[in-house]
Symmetry: D3
Subunit: 339 residues, 6 copies
C-alpha cells in the first residue's frame, strides 16, 4: 500500500529559542509544509510514500528535496524548475505571547507551475492513497486544477482520497475556499476537518471560534461531521481534532473519528507543548497509518491523536517518531526517565 | 511629545540557557539598565525618546550606544569618556532555583562622572517628560546631584517628571535611599512604586515582603499609594505592580493606578515567564505611552501591565513589542498559533 | 573526613535542546556516572573526596578526568589504560515524551579492568567513607570482585560504607543483581534505596511500580526500609527518595531517612525540572555531606532532598550547587529574582 | 556635509563557516547592499549620511532598517510598504572553490515601488553628495526613473553626484546596462569603475577579463578612465580598483584616482582575505570620506584602498572600521599583536 | 550503469574549529567512511549508486543511513543489527600541528557481522561496478570473506571491480594486509594506489615516505603502477594521486592514470585546504564517474583530481560538489567572487 | 621538582571568529594570564606546578581557579577575596588587520591585594623553581613588594628564579619598569627577554622595533643577552624568541639560549598561526620543562621554541599540548593527516 501526497514545501526560517525576528542574527533552517509533513510521518512509520511538488533547481530547492528523502520519502516525482522556494519566517511564542509567522511564499516554483506539468497517470500508477490538504488548491488556479485532475484520476482508478480541509485565512477568503473545496469534496473518501475548517471551507457550522472550549463543543462538532457525510455521500468517514487551548503551550487534545455511522473518541491528552507546529499533519499521518495497517477504528483514532500530541514535543515541522514511540505513549499512564 | 530618560546602561553577560557561571564557556552579550530599557520600550511604541548616560569611548561603550540606537532611541546626548562600562553577570534560574546576578559595576564611566557634565538646559530643551529610576541617584553622589539638577530644571520648565522608586539593596541601604529619594520626590509628578520600594525608599509601609501574596495585600498597597500623594503633594498619581510569585517563572500580575483620587485596577494576568528581567521597566514604558497618547486611565493601566507581562516572554533586557502586539493581547482571551 | 567513591564515568553525548538523535548534527559532550556525580557534589560542598575509576589513556579518558578534577575532586587514584570510554547518548524528553538514553558502554576500560588493579589499602588509607552504587558491581565480574575487596578492606579498617542500590535493568537482571547486592549489603553501613531498588536488588517489596503515586506508598516504603535493617544488621540506616511523577518534568519529591529506629521525613517539594539526570546522585551527595558535617538527622534528610531537587534545575550530570545555595532554598518559602 | 545614498538592502543568509547550502541547517542573517554598505562606511567614519530605500512593513523590513541605524545612519527617509525584502543566499568559497551567491530578490518592495514615491526635493534638501551604484537602476524601470529624477534634482541644486558603475550580469545584460548608465553618466561628478564595468556599462574597453592580471593592465585601465572623462565632460574624476586575484582569498589590490588630469596611484596591498564581500563599497566609502574631509588626492586614494582591503578582513557586508583603524594600517608597514 | 560500494560507515565526532578534544564541550556529528564517501560522491554526480553495510538498529545507526540517503544513495541493502556504530574522534590540525584521529571503532556492527549476511547475488544483481577499499577486508576475517565473495560473484557475472588499496596502519600490519590484498587483487579491474599503499599492501616499492616530495617521485610511482598491472594481469588500469604536502593545509596535488599501456597526467593543483578528509575517496568517486560517463582517459584523470582537490574545500566527509562545479574549476584558471 | 608561578589571571572575553566587538552578541569566555599560562603548560607536560594569585570569592573567581585546576595545576595557594576579576576583551585580527585587546583590569582583586597576604615561606616551602613575569610587579606597588619578598625568600632558600621580562606598555612606562625590574633582576637565575623587553625594562639595546626583521637582528640580540649576564652576575642564562612577523599570522620564529657562555640556536619555524596569544608563555613553559627534565641546552631551546610555535595552533590562552606532541613536531619534517 503506497501513499502519494501533493503540496508545497517551504523553507522555514526560525529564530533561535523565542527571539523575535527583530532580535535575531541567526535563523534555523528547516523545510516543511502540510503534505511533506504527512509524507515524512508515514516514512517514519515505515509506510511507502511519495511526495509530489515542484521546487527550483537551485541549492535551496535541492536541500528541500534532500530533507524529505532523508527520512525515506520517495522524491522521484518532484519537479525541478521555477525561480524560488517559498519561505516562512517563524517566531515561536511563549505562554501569552502568540507564535508569529511571516509568509514570503508568493511567486514560488509551485505557485507558478502549470497543472499540466503533473502527470497523474504516472505518479499515481502505483498509489493506493492520495493525500492533499486545502493548502494546495489555495496556492493558485493551476494548483486547483492539478488537484482536481489528481482527484479525477483517483476516482477512476480506485485510489483512496484523503483530504485535510486545512483552511488558511492568509491564503484565501472563506468564499474562495468554499467554491473550490466543495468541488474537491466530491472525490474525497476520508475528510479531516478541524476548528474553523467546517465553516470556512464547507459552510457547515461546528465550532464557535473559542479555542479555550473546543472539547466542550463536541456535540456541534459531531453534527458537523455527520453533515459532511450527508452532503458528500462519496465521503465515508471524517476525523477531527478537538482542542482546548489555554496558552500557547498548554492545552487538552482529543480526536474523534466518524466511520460507518459510529463515533470513536480518543482519550483527552493534557499537554504542555514544545513546538506547536505540524500537529494537524501528524494527526493525518497517524490516521493514514492506522488505515494502511488496518487498525480498528478506535485504535486508529487513539494512534492518530497520540501521534499528534507527540509532535507537540518534537522540534521542526516533521514528526520524527516511530510506531514504537507512539504505542509506548498510548500504553503508559506514566512517563519516566530511562537510564 | 518627547521623553528623556537618564541612567546607567551596563553590559549584561548571560550564560546560555540556565547554565551556571561555573559551567559556561560562553556569554551572551546584551546591554540594559532601567532607564535604557524604558527608552527602548518607548521607541518600539514609536514615541520620540532620548536616552542620556555616559559610556567609555571604547568598543564596549560604543556597542552599548549602538544597541539603544538600533531600536530608534536618540543617543545624541550620550557622553563618551571614563574607563569602563559596568557589567552584570546573569544566571537565569528555573523553578525553585533563583536567578543569580553578579554585579561588576563599580568604577563605571557614569559612576565616576561629574554632575556638571550633563547640561540639562540643552538636553531637556525639547523634552516633555523626564524619566529616571531610583537606581540613578544610588550610583554616586555626583549622580544624585545630576538627577536633582534635572529635576529642578524640569520643575522650572514644565517638564513632567516620572520616577520609578526602584530600590536596589545591593547599591545602597534603605537609610541612604530615603535621604535621597525623599528629596527627589519633591519634584515628581508620577511615581511608580512596587513591592519593597514604599518602605525602603520612602518609609511608607505597603508590602509585607511575602512575594507569594502581593495581590492579597492590595489594601495596604492602596494605602501606601495614597500616603505618597499625601506626603508629596506635587505628585499627582502613583502606579504599582502587584505580584504573587510562586516560582521563578509562575506568577499572577496586576497593575493599580491611582489618579485624580481614583484607583484603576487592571485584570490579573497569570503567566509563566520566559525571562523575568525588565518587567518593571516595561511597565513604566507602557504607562508613559498611555500618558503620551492620552489613553484613559483604565486603558493606561491595562496597557502598562500587559506591556509588563509581555516582557516576561521576551529575551534580553529590552521589551521588543509593538503597540499592536500589546493591544492584541489585551483584546484576546485566547492565544493561538498563526500559520 | 575524606570520602572515596568508586565507579564508572562515561562520555555523555546529548543532543541540543530536545532534538532527537535522528535530527541532530551536534552533540553536547559532558561526563558523568553515579559515583563521579557524588564525588563532584561533595567537592562543590567543600568536602574532601577522591574518585576512583579506570579510563583509557587517550584524550577522551583524560578529558573525563579533567572534568572531575575541575570541581576539586582528587583524581590521583584514577587508573589509565584500556581502549575506550563508555558513552551514553541522551535525548531529553519533554512532557509526555520520555527521555531516551542509548547506551554504548560495552568494552569500556573499566569493564575490561581486573579487580587486582585497584589497591584498596593505598586508596582507602586516608578514607573515612567509601561510596559505591549498584552500577559498579553490575559492570563486570571483575568489578564485582573489586567492590567486594574494597568492602572487606573498609570493614577491617573502620571505613564507613555507603551504598546506593541503584538498580539498572539495562545492565543486569534482578536475579543477577540480587545475588551480588545481597552479598555486598553485608558490609554496608548506610543504604540508599529508591523505587524499584528494594525489590530488584534485595527482593524486598516496597514500591508497586506506579511512578504517579510513590509518595502515597510511604507506608510500604517504610516497611521496606525497616526490612533492610532487619535483614542486614550491619546496616544502621536507610534513606529513600519518594516521588510522584506526573510528566517528564512535573513531580513531587520527598526524602525519608530511617536512623536509630526513627523515621525522619522531609517536606514535599513540588517541582518542574529542567534536566532530570543525577538527582539520585545529588541526594546521595547531600546525605553524605550531612553525615560528614554532623547535621541532625532531620536537617540531613532535608538537606539531601533539597540538594536532589536543586539538581533538577542544573544542566549536565554534576550538581553544581554550594552549601549556601541549598541552605537558601531550604529556608525560603519564596523564590524571587535578585538583581 | 551630508551624503545621501539610494539603493536596495537585502537580507543575506550565509551558511556558517564554508558550508554549502546543501549541508547547512543554519543561516547567519545580516543585511546589505551596495548603497547601504557605503552609508554604514560613512557613519563609521563619523560622516553624516542618510540611506534611502523601501522595505516591507514587516519584521524583516524593520530589522533591515534597524541594522543600518545601529551604526548611526539616518533612516528617516526609508519608505515602508510592499510585500518582501530581497534575499541573497551566500556560500563562502575557499581557495579554488568559488564563493556562490543565490539571488532571491525578485518582487522585492523596492523593485515594485514607483518612482514617484521618492520625494527628492525633500530627501536631498540637506544633501551635499548623492551616491548610487549601477545596481539601483538595474532593479526596475521605476528605479531607473527614480535615479534619474534624483540626478536631475542634484544637477539643479548643486548636489555632487557619485556613481559606482557596479555591473551585475545576473541583473541585466550589457546592452540594457549601457542604455541606462550612459544616460545616468550625464549627471555624474565622480565615477567609480572597476574590472568589467568599463566595457559592460559604458562600452569602453579597459580590462581583458583575466582576474589574475588586473594590475598589469594598468595602462588600459588608465586609458579607460581618461575615456570616461572625455565622453562625459560633466564628470571630473574617476577612481578604480585594480586587482590580481590568485585564489578566492589571495590577491594584490591597488587604487587609481584620476583627478584634474592627474593620476594618483596607491601602494599595492598583498592580502589574504577573510570575507571578500563589499570591498568595492568600502572603497567608495573611503573615497567619499576623503572628499568630505578634503584629503589630498593621493591621501584620498590611499585611504580608499586601505578601507577596501580592511573590509576583506571584516565579516558581513558592512565595513566596521574607524578612521583611526584605517590610518594606523596606512602608517604601519608591520602588523603585530597588542596585548 | 549502477555502482555498489561496500564498507563501514562511522560516526565522526569533530571538535569545533581546531579545538583539542581536551578543550571541547561540543562535538559536530557527521558520518563517513571510504565506501560511503564514494557512494555520496557518485550520487552528487547523479550516478545511480547503492551503499552496502551493517549498522545497529538504534538511532545512531538509523541516522547514519539517513545521512547517506539524504544525498540520493540507495540504502535498501543496508543491514540492521549488532550493538554499536564505530566512532572516530577528529581534531583538525593547523599548519604544523597535525590532525589527530582517535578511533573507537572496535566491536562495531559491521566488524561483528558474518560474511553470510550479505547476499551478493541479490545486492549485485543490477550492479555494473563494485567498489571497495582496503579498509573493508581489514575490519575482520568475516569482512575479508564477504569481500572475496563479492569479488567472486563480480568476476562470474561481469561486474567491473574497483579497489582503492587504502592502507590503514592503525587497522592491520603490512604483512596482514599483503596476505589479504594480494588475494583480492586477483579480481580487481581498476586499482587505485596512493603513497604507501604500493609497498604496504602489495609489497611493490613506489614511494619513499617523504610527503614533501611525492610529485618528484613520479618515476618510481609509474614503475609501481606498471608493476601492479604486471603482477595482476586481470587488472587493466591503475590510478594514483601524487602529493607534495608542505603543511597540514598546503600542498601540490596531481593524478596519474595508467590505462591501455599509456600514462595520463593531470595538471598540478596547488591548494590550501579547508579540511583534508576524504580527498582520496573523492578521487575515486571522480574516477568512477569518468568511467561511467565514458570520459576520455585524460578527461577522466583531470576530473578525478579536480574532484579530489575540491573535496579539500568541503567540510565533513562527503564531497558535496556537482559535475558542473567540477567542470567549472577544470575550465577556469581563475577563481573569482560572484555576486 | 616543583614549580611555583605567581601572577594575575583574567577573564578573557573573545568575540567569535574575527568579529569586532561592535558586531558581536556573544563572547567566548576563557581565563588566562602569563603566569597561569606557564603553570598550565607545565601541568600538561606532567610537571608538578602550583599557581599563586588572588581572585574574588564569587563565581567568576571560582571559575578561573577551576579552569587552571582542570589541567592539573595545584591551586591550593590561591587567595579568595576582593571585588572583581580583571577582564580583557579580545578581537582576533586577520592578515593586515591587527588583533585588538581592550583591557578592563583595573581594581582587580590582585591589584588591590596587600603584599602581606602572600606567605612565601609556606607557598615556596616545597618549591624548586619560582616563575614570574614583568606583568606581576607592574600591577601595583603591593604586587611589586610581593614579588620582591618571594625573590628574597627564593635566594635565601635555594629556589631557582625564572623571570620573563614581558614588558607591557599599557601597564607602565619604560621608566617605571626599569626601576622595578632592575631590582628584581638581582635575584633572577634565568631571564627570558624578547623584542622590546631588553630596552624597555633593562635599558639594554637589542631590537630596533621592526617586527619584520627580528631574526636578522640576531647579533644585537646576542649582545643584549650577554649584556644581561654581565650586568646581573647572579643571572646565569638568558633565552629569547626572535621573530620576523609578516602579517598577523605569518612569521618566522626561532629561539636562542645563552648558557654557560655558549649560544644555542633553534631551527627557524615558518608558520601561519591560528591564534597568536600566549606563545611567549608557552616558550617559558617549554624552557622550564627542559630544565626540570635536564634536557641538553640544545634540546631545551629546540623544545621551547617548538612548544611556542605549537601554541600558535592552539586556541585560547593555554598551551594544550603534551610532551609527545612537541617531540613529534621536533622530529618530523613533514606533517600529514592521520586517519
Amino acid at each position: 500500500m503506497k501513499v502519494v501526497t501533493f503540496g508545497e514545501i517551504m523553507l522555514r526560517l526560525k529564530t533561535p529559542e523565542h527571539l523575535r525576528i527583530l532580535q535575531t542574527r541567526d535563523f534555523e533552517a528547516s523545510y516543511g509544509g502540510a503534505e511533506a509533513n504527512v509524507a515524512v510521518s508515514l516514512a517514519m512509520l515505515e509506510d511507502p510514500v511519495s511526495f509530489v511538488t515542484k521546487v527550483p533547481d537551485n541549492p535551496i530547492g535541492r536541500a528541500a528535496v534532500n530533507e524529505v528523502r532523508h527520512y525515506g520519502v520517495d522524491t522521484s516525482y518532484i519537479l525541478k524548475g521555477g525561480s524560488r522556494l517559498g519561505i516562512y519566517y517563524f517566531e515561536k511564542g511563549s505562554n501569552i505571547r502568540p507564535t508569529n509567522v511571516v509568509y514570503d511564499r508568493e511567486y514560488s516554483a509551485l505557485s507558478l507551475a502549470e497543472a499540466s506539468e503533473f502527470h497523474w497517470e504516472e505518479i499515481l500508477e502505483e498509489g493506493d492513497i492520495f493525500y492533499f490538504s486545502g493548502v494546495t488548491p489555495a496556492i493558485s488556479a493551476h494548483m486547483k486544477t492539478a488537484v482536481l485532475k489528481a482527484l479525477q484520476y483517483s476516482r477512476n482508478h480506485g485510489v483512496f482520497v484523503v483530504c485535510d480541509l486545512n483552511y488558511r485565512a492568509k491564503m484565501w477568503s472563506s468564499r474562495q475556499a468554499q467554491t473550490v473545496m466543495k468541488e474537491c469534496m466530491q472525490y474525497v473518501d476520508l475528510c479531516i476537518a478541524n476548528d474553523e475548517d467546517f465553516e470556512a471551507t464547507l459552510g457547515i457550522p461546528a465550532f464557535d471560534g473559542n479555542m479555550r472550549t473546543g472539547i466542550q463543543q463536541m456535540d456541534t462538532y459531531k453534527k458537523g461531521m455527520e453533515e459532511i457525510l450527508k452532503q458528500y455521500p462519496g465521503c465515508k468517514s471524517v476525523a477531527s481534532v478537538l482542542r482546548n487551548m489555554y496558552t500557547v503551550e498548554d492545552g487538552d487534545w482529543m480526536g474523534i473519528y466518524l466511520k460507518d455511522g459510529k463515533f470513536y473518541e480518543s482519550p483527552i491528552h493534557t499537554v504542555h507543548s514544545l513546538e506547536a507546529v505540524g500537529a494537524g499533519d501528524a494527526f493525518a499521518g497517524g490516521l493514514l497509518h492506522g488505515i494502511l495497517r488496518n487498525f480498528e477504528p478506535q485504535k486508529t483514532i487513539d494512534f492518530a491523536i497520540t501521534a499528534s500530541v507527540m509532535k507537540l514535543m518534537i522540534q521542526y515541522d516533521f514528526n520524527i517518531v516511530t510506531e514504537e514511540d507512539i504505542l509506548r505513549i498510548m500504553k503508559s499512564s506514566n512517563t519516566n526517565l530511562q537510564r
